[in-house]
Symmetry: C2
Subunit: 248 residues, 2 copies
DNA sequence: GGACTAAAAGTCAAAATGACACTAAGATAA
DNA sequence: TTATCTTAGTGTCATTTTGACTTTTAGTCC
């Protein structure tokens, strides 16, 4: 049961796993949107009984991002709206009682899933959503990982369209503003927020209004998905050696 | 010589390597600073004879960042001024002729080394500096990796103090501006640049001036290193499971 | 002393930002 | 039928930030 094996050239190959921080927004009892993540309960040592990030080993002929997406589907039954690599954690101090022999390299992704879908996600005694502001004790160094993922999410939200990853096809500006408020943890001025969104060519009015409110009916907007939620630079292109570069 | 081995639980563990994109600035024949990276020549298949990023396997009880720093020392004889994880590349299409059995996961770091030190770095027929704007054909998907590292460097330069990673203890504003120009590939207005730097409390005048110029002697500045070159968020803290969190 | 060079300081208009006030369009209550 | 409530949507204004540019300063070189 050792996590380490001898490779052909005499070096020790540490075990490799892919985990994902899955964010969603859910409606709290107070009626406001709140940020939550998906956790699974560990059913074996170490840290048996504690909550941890969903994850698993990497399959032999599986790309890293595919492994994260598969894992997300298997634990929540959902497809991510957005998926990005977060960081590779491979320190030797990833938890008390972890010896260098048990050493584990985790390639961690983070994902956004829609508010509506998240309600339908499978949840049982071993899988569940947890409010980001009141997480239980987590296994390994997963608390740090979640903290870092949250930091990235908050940063990116301010200079990208990531917020749309939480919403469905059409939405009102008030709803979009709620997303920002929930993630950033502070309210935004409605007027200034509207000005900001209107300068973004990727967010366009549908022409229809949302009926049934007890006040003036708001305009519905749509996201022009040809523009992408964020700028990943060269990584958005397929990975091809410019050298002998054929293949597409 | 297979790159894959059977682990105890029956899964195949892919080989894992750590590579680094090492940036420096060097003085070109024209006298201006230009961005360069360190490459090593491959002495075995695949891609034998082509240039590649310096890297090597991860040692059993070595942290990922330590492996990158060690590797940097071994290939250039230098210590990095700045070192940050870039990305984990683990796709199945990392180069022509690479089968799923040869699959390799590369955890790539990027580093900055000082302009002065870089001149002293070891260079022979198998290691050398290459101008970023005229790279040779690279092995594997290393062209993409370099492109991505450059994109990150350029982005971070604009909202951090990373430029100082290329310079030594004291420097003039003109020199610092040269660094920006070299990395970003465009000139900056001297007046506006000065205004920007002067709002940064981490860059302070030493009180001394640089003599020997054929014009008005410029003020020397120093970097207050208590502030850090960039904000890495929660990752700047030591990784400790909040759970049973002792250890420092 | 005059020409030359880059340092350093200053000017100014345009653009972006933050804090508000005001008007519009519906539902609901009197 | 009219007043009230609530949020949508528009408009204003002062402050800050940004980019382009001018002027003055302190040295070297001839």
């Amino acid at each position: 049961m050792s996590a380490i094996d001898q490779t052909a050239d005499g070096l020790l190959a540490p075990n490799l796993a892919v985990s994902t921080v899955i964010f969603t927004l859910r409606t709290a009892e107070t009626g406001e949107l709140k940020l939550a993540i998906a956790l699974v309960k560990r059913i074996r040592a170490p840290f048996e009984g504690l909550w941890a990030l969903p994850g698993g080993p990497l399959k032999p002929s599986e790309a890293l991002g595919s492994a994260a997406a598969r894992n997300l589907r298997e634990t929540t039954g959902l497809n991510p709206r957005y998926l990005e690599q977060l960081y590779a954690f491979g320190g030797l101090d990833r938890g008390p009682g972890i010896t260098p022999e048990d050493r584990m390299i985790s390639i961690v992704y983070w994902a956004l899933v829609g508010t509506e879908e998240a309600e339908l996600a499978l949840a049982n005694e071993n899988v569940g959503w947890f409010w980001i502001d009141s997480l239980p004790e987590l296994a390994f160094d997963h608390s740090l990982i979640v903290e870092y993922a949250l930091w990235r999410l908050r940063n990116k939200l301010e200079y990208s369209r990531l917020a749309l990853g939480f919403l469905s096809e059409t939405f009102t500006l008030a709803r979009l503003r709620e997303v920002y408020a929930a993630v950033l943890g502070r309210d935004l001025d409605p007027g200034n927020f509207r000005r900001m969104v209107e300068t973004d060519a990727a967010i366009v009015p549908t022409g229809e209004k949302l009926a049934g409110t007890k006040h003036r009916p708001p305009q519905l907007y749509r996201y022009d998905s040809s523009m992408g939620l964020t700028d990943l630079g060269p990584l958005s292109r397929p990975a091809i050696s410019k050298a002998t570069g054929e293949k597409k």
